[in-house]
Amino acid sequence: MSPSQLFRGELSRTSRTLVLVAALLLIPSAFLPVWNITLVAPQYPQGLSLAIYANKVAGEIQEVNILNHYIGMKEIEQDEFPEFRFIPFLILRFLALAVLAAIVARLEIGALGWIDFLVFGLVMLFDFQHWLYEYGHNLSPGAPISLDPFTPKFIGTTQVANFTVKSWPAAGAVMMALAGLLGPVALFFEWRRRKDHAALDQQAQV
């Protein structure tokens, strides 16, 4: 089956529903924390948590900044991250593309949105890793406690001085991943359906 065959005709009802579900999944992901970073030390038995949302960092930022200033780490401030200003709009864009794909029932639009979303996800992961590197390496030389530069893992557990830093995707990221997964699923359905159609067409021609 050629790509032109794949893109021919309208999306099936199933695929449109799947694309719409993906769009719906994106809505809560804009309001739920995407990533959680928890710092645990003996005197913080409950841990200090930072929650990264699409548009902000929340949680015990002041306490984390107080601790970080001892090792000369830059303060975590919302304005430091230009990403927060446009991520919500990007999510809105994916949502719009998905809804549009479902309405006009065009696979191209769906595919465009999905690739767009995938690229965004990967770029954001790299971006996140970049920030973790930046914060762990840009340590002020005048800090009271000098520490070798470090990079916390963006996923997993890292030991930094007396803290165990745990970084894990949160509900928002799970929603996004599910939405992202629905793309290939829809594509699979379309591919199978169209292959069957193509076969029927061929038979009819014969």
């Binding site: 015990e60 002041q62 306490e63 107080i66 001892y70 009271p144 406690i145």
Partner: protein
């Protein structure tokens, strides 16, 4: 059928086997020795081991109850976990306390202590006697705590949000108090009654004029719950005969609206052993009977509000004795000699008094008291014209308990517990059949006792603490001034079991109250950054990061300072000799235990700045020189570096 029974038998056997093998297999502790070996080595009996198991709390586990105890002469309140009997906190009330920064410069604490000035004089000790937890519908509500200072007739109000004293009041009508503090069932009023009679107007009167000029008094301090303060302008006092009024308790349920107040020295002895040869101790205990005072406080409130016959004495509204008599506010009830307790039963139907020089407790029926008042079943009137109810007409029962009964608490199952001072024991008796059930010896010379929620409408009936005056041989000798001994007793079953001895190394505590821990809801940090514990609201003078500054106005210097780990901002304060310096301090901390201190060398200033707290210190920089100021709390790894300089230019 048989097979089924066999399976059950096997299963039961397995359970028994597990029960036997289980404990044995885990009795070996981490240190190596088994529980049995340890007990033998330390000479512990099975009762000792059960007592240990009932009181021991592993690290991180919390107590089921919190006991607020008077701190005696320390002028403080002790906060103790029950059943572990661990000291959790000391709340400063009448006396400066450095760690809490109470009375060392912090504005709010200075203001509280100023409220306790006695005729303009600083009195920096207090003989704290009876704490009272605020109540709603006759149950502890865990919001406020009151405590009195017997020596100077003062009352302190403590918030149980931050466990800090908010207000101290001096009662100008009294020389000393004793029936304080007790609250009415909804904390409408905090009750304070005098002990040793003096002239109410504070003037001089010779002891030869004792009956004419000396008077007792009971003050009903109006508590304003929303403000968290006593409102003296809405409080009133009843003038009482110059007997020495003692412990009080407010009626509840059917006896709501009344308060009962014991008394002694109804002989009105004036002592003078050196001339009369009759010391107070003999003169004041000559009669076989003293008087329990029954006071209708709700009607007294109406009389006060009507303003009829009121007198203003030393700024206080006083209902004179003759008005109390004519309005039916006050009646006397004979009670066996030298009593020390007047305790209303949980159902509010009976009042128990204990005459410490009589082996009985006397139980009065509130209903019979009301009938006797209605039918004027009086046995006479006292020299001041107060009606004395007929003893037999109002008595429900007398129970012979032993020597020196003092104070009674309840278990909510019809059981009553009375301390026996002379016998140094606790007697358990029944409110149902008025018989003595059992006694347990305590060590030694018990004064008050406190049962878990034991003076509320629904006592819990599990723990009881004996507040013993002497400890003799119970603790390691530490010189002639011995610790007192708080003994925890399990009263869940019979016999009562002594569980634990807690030495009290400060003051001479009198009474304590025990509240279920889950009724308390204290703040872990202040509710917001820049919160004034004195105003219990956001402080307009608090500053946030970046707003710190120093402002000069003539010879007044205002410093707006923040504290956060591990620095003050600003760190340099330069003033001129003679300047009046005011430092507004704001803690920017938001986490538990993130407390800073603010101490200025050689200025008697030490402030405790708890997370979020805002405080002000004011002083005159009267000596030129260089004065480091520093964080007096080990706040962080850079605590020693949390410092600044106050530079006073000549």
């Amino acid at each position: 059928m048989r097979a089924k029974r066999a399976i059950w038998a096997v299963a039961a056997f397995a359970v028994i086997a597990l029960a036997i093998a289980g404990p044995q297999s885990c009795t070996r502790g981490p240190a190596g020795a088994s529980v049995g070996e340890l007990a033998r080595e330390r000479g512990l009996s099975e009762a000792d081991i059960t007592a240990a198991l009932k009181t021991y709390l592993p690290t991180g586990q919390l107590d089921e109850y919190v006991m607020f105890s008077s701190g005696g002469h320390s002028g403080q309140v002790l906060v103790i976990g029950v059943p572990s009997m661990r000291l959790l906190k000391v709340i400063a009330a009448f006396t400066p306390e450095p760690w809490q920064g109470y009375g060392y410069g912090a504005g709010g604490t200075m203001e509280a202590l100023e409220g306790g000035l006695v005729n303009g004089k600083e009195v920096l000790w207090g003989d704290t006697h009876h704490p009272a937890i605020s109540e709603t519908d006759g149950e502890y509500d865990g919001q406020f705590l009151f405590i009195d200072d017997k020596a100077n007739a003062r009352v302190a109000v403590i918030s149980l949000k931050d466990f800090e004293t908010k207000q101290v009041l001096h009662n100008p009508l009294m020389g000393s108090d004793h029936g304080a503090t007790f609250v009415t069932p909804n904390t409408e009023y905090v009750i304070q009654s005098s002990q040793y009679a003096v002239p109410l107007d504070g003037s001089y009167a010779d002891l030869s004029e004792y009956q004419e000029r000396y008077r007792g008094a009971v003050t009903f301090w109006k508590f304003d719950r929303a403000a968290g303060r006593i409102d003296p302008s809405r409080s009133f006092t009843l003038e009482l005969p110059p007997y020495w009024q003692d412990l009080a308790d407010a009626g509840k349920g059917p006896s709501m609206g009344w308060v009962f107040l014991g008394s002694f020295n109804t002989e009105m002895a004036t002592g003078g052993i050196e001339t009369t040869g009759v010391p107070f101790e003999a003169g004041a205990s000559a009669n076989d009977m003293d008087y329990l005072h029954a006071i209708n406080w709700q009607r007294a409130e109406q009389v006060y509000q009507s303003g009829n016959g009121l007198r203003r004495i030393q700024g206080m509204s006083v209902i004179p004795l003759d008005v109390s008599i004519s309005e039916g506010l006050l009646y006397l009830i004979p009670e066996p000699k030298s009593p020390h307790g007047a305790d209303v039963t949980p159902d509010g139907r009976m009042i128990v008094t204990a005459g410490k020089l009589d082996p009985h407790v006397s139980v009065y029926s509130f209903e019979k008291i009301q009938d006797a008042i209605a039918n004027e079943t009086f046995s006479g009137r006292d020299p001041f014209g107060v009606a004395i109810l007929d003893f037999d007409a109002v008595l429900e029962a007398q129970v012979e308990l032993g020597l020196g009964p003092l104070h009674t608490q309840f278990d909510g199952r019809g059981g009553a517990y009375t301390s026996l001072f002379i016998e140094t024991a606790v007697a358990k008796w029944s409110l149902e059949d008025f018989t003595l059930k059992e006694k347990i010896g305590v060590h030694y010379n018990i004064g008050h006792l406190a049962a878990a929620e034991g003076d509320t409408r629904t006592p819990d009936g599990n723990y009881l603490v004996a507040l013993n005056k002497w400890s003799i041989d119970r603790f390691m000798p530490v010189g002639p001034l011995h610790p007192q001994n708080f003994q925890l007793i399990d009263v869940t079953g019979e016999p009562m079991q002594l569980l634990y001895d807690m030495p009290i190394g400060i003051g001479e505590p009198h009474y304590a109250q025990i509240i279920k821990a889950d009724k308390l809801d204290p703040w872990l940090v202040y509710p917001e950054v820049g919160f004034s514990p004195h105003a219990m609201a956001s402080d307009p003078n608090a500053v946030s990061s970046g707003e710190e500054r120093i402002e000069r106005n003539g010879n007044r210097v205002d410093v707006y300072m923040t504290a956060i780990r591990s620095h003050f901002t600003p760190e340099h304060i330069k003033v001129r000799q003679g300047d009046r310096v005011r430092i507004y301090l704001t803690s920017l901390e938001t986490i538990r235990d993130g407390t800073h201190g603010f101490a200025i060398d050689k200025h008697n200033i030490n402030v405790s700045l708890e997370p979020g707290e805002s405080e002000v210190v004011e002083f005159v920089a009267d000596q030129a020189g260089v004065y480091p100021f520093y964080c007096s709390e080990f706040c962080s790894a850079l605590h020693l570096e949390m410092v600044g300089y106050l530079l006073v230019e000549p």
